[in-house]
Amino acid sequence: MSTSVLSLADVHKSYNVGTAVEAEVLHGIDLELAAGEFVALIGPSGSGKSTLLNIIGLLERPTSGKVRIQGEEVTALDDTGLTRLRGRTLGFIFQFHHLLPAFSALENVLMPLVIERGRRDAEMRERAAALLDAVGLANAAEKKPAELSGGMQQRVAIARALAVRPPLVLADEPTGNLDTHTGDDVFALMRRFNEQHGSAFLIVTHDPRLAARCDRRIELVDGRVVAGAR
């Protein structure tokens, strides 16, 4: 598929390789994600969701198998190459938002842009401010994360994930830490960005209600994809 944003072929991941406690967590994952898709990744605890997400997020390397992001084969890249690819093509939304406490909401949204270009400029500021406005936090731009509620923090995190207009956003239980109502808001926001910007989303979630509202559900059980691989 020419518009594939992510493709995994026979990805295995083992921990403690070569020792007595070697354990394979992922047993040959095959996966495709098309551009602009909005996909849920579901599965019980311990099924390997986080590991899979880390591998897709280029934070961990697979033990074997191929990972392509935007058609680029990543297994051959060194740390610098992985970092660059990650900064350019991936946005992260974590369960506990993981904003930088020393920086204001606006600066947090700016950060991926500053990292990409090396320094701040006025155009970036505008883009970041527009994103904050889009998540309904124009008034909170100068506030530090600690001064914001959980739902607001998660919305800042979403704005941050979209700052570089990445083709793929990875969300790890983005609503897991929020009440149902706030969770719905956050989910709606991701959906809106997906439709407006065309970024593909891969959302790890425990919430079957939210999973049901995604385009597709990939189900992971014991390190194997049992449904929705494509």
Binding site: L100, A102, I115
Partner: protein, 405 residues
């Protein structure tokens, strides 16, 4: 502002107490180093000034005359004892050529020919043994700052005008404008007029030195056209011995530096310099350890943030630089504050530490170059000390770092 500076500054600001403490540490360290260095430099400059104020850095003399056995080499006779020869007063052979050559030697800033020898100074029934120093006033002033030691008149030995020390003046009971008689062993004598009196701080020299013109000294000492020694000043004080050796090698003359004639002073100065250096090295080491330990803690505290930054595309090199810059910033700010404190200490010292008569003992020397080198060393120390923590930060596994709490 570049990304690295932005994050480094923010991290420092966030770690308030830690940052303040380590900056205070650097400040105190730099203050100690700058103050001690200024103190010792001042003390040494003062000692050297006192010692060398009235003497040349290098004195060049004709080689000593040696007894040459006239025995035939082929014969088996051996001189059982060779007596050393009596050293008569001699001129430096072709001293003008030597002098011209010295003036062109790099590192030599002043050269003054001198005709000196023993004599008696008498007035009425009083007679004192003195040393005649025939000099060219202009040239001599460039070598020895005798002008600073004048208590009466000017330093202008010329014609039959002479300049004597205050002790000799007292011993002979002469005042300015009085005449004294100078007589030498060769029964040559002349009347000179006292036009100036000096006090070089050493009674013995005040009693013995009689400055005259070169011509007069040459006549009295029977050395027409000759000079007995050439006095030199060098730009690099502690290079005097090396310069002296070079000159001796080139000219075949005797060249003696102040470092030889004041060996004890020199070893005292060297011991001081060594102890200052020791203090500086250890203070620097302690400051470096302080910076490193605070940053190590900071890396642990900031694990999660580092992980987030890495996830957002910050390379290992960027993270490394964020922490190196923190070390550098702490060092630079600390060393500016420390320098200010040291400057304040120096002015306090100059005001309150005084000798019994109320005059300043000596002034600590605060040279701009001292600040400059201190800042450079501090900056290098800060960055080097940050290397280990910075590498740890860069090597953090982002996935694990994000998971950490």
């Amino acid at each position: 502002m570049p990304f690295e500076f932005l994050v480094a500054l923010r991290f420092l600001r966030e770690g308030r107490m830690q940052t303040l403490l380590i900056m205070a540490g650097v400040t105190v360290g730099v203050a100690v180093v700058v103050f001690i260095t200024a103190l010792i430099t001042g003390l040494q400059a003062n000692l050297v000034q006192r010692t060398l104020g009235s003497q040349a850095h290098i004195v060049i003399r004709p080689p000593e005359e040696v007894a040459r056995p006239t025995l035939d080499r082929a014969s088996a006779d051996i001189a059982a004892r060779v007596e050393s020869r009596a050293q008569r007063l001699r001129s430096i052979d072709q001293w003008e050529a030597v002098f011209a050559r010295l003036a062109e030697t790099p590192g030599i800033v002043g050269a003054s020919p001198m005709v000196s020898g023993p004599a008696f100074a008498s007035r009425g029934n009083a007679s004192k043994s003195v040393a005649i120093l025939g000099v060219d006033a202009e040239l001599y002033r460039k070598v020895v700052s005798i002008e600073d030691d004048m208590v009466a008149g000017r330093f202008r030995p010329s014609g039959t005008d002479a300049v004597i020390g205050i002790e000799l003046a007292r011993d002979l009971g002469v005042a300015m404008g009085d005449k004294i008689r100078l007589a030498t062993a060769g029964n040559r004598e002349d009347l000179v007029t006292v036009v100036g009196m000096f006090d070089v701080g050493t009674k013995d020299l005040n009693r013995r030195w009689v400055f005259t013109s070169m011509k007069l000294a040459q006549n009295l000492l029977d050395l027409p056209g000759g000079v007995t020694n050439i006095d030199l000043t060098v730009s690099e004080l502690f290079g005097a011995e090396a310069t002296a050796r070079t000159i001796a090698g080139q000219t075949g003359l005797l060249a003696e530096s102040w470092m030889q004639t004041n060996a004890q002073l020199l070893s005292a100065l060297r011991a001081q310099t060594a102890s200052t250096l020791t203090i500086r090295v250890f203070v620097t080491l302690i400051v470096a350890l302080g910076i490193a330990s605070v940053l190590v803690v900071s890396v642990v505290q900031k694990q999660k943030e580092i992980g987030i930054l890495r996830a957002m595309g910050a390379s290992q090199g960027r993270i490394l630089r964020v922490f190196l810059i923190q070390g550098g910033l702490v060092a630079v700010v600390g060393s500016i504050l420390g320098s200010a404190i040291a400057a304040a200490l120096v002015s306090l010292f100059a005001r309150f530490v005084r000798s019994a008569d109320g005059s300043a003992l000596f002034t600590p020397l605060l040279e701009p170059s001292l600040f400059f080198t201190t800042w450079l060393v501090a900056l290098a120390t800060g960055v080097l000390a940050a290397t280990l923590p910075a590498r740890r930060a860069a090597k953090l596994d982002p996935a694990q770092a994000i998971r950490s709490t």
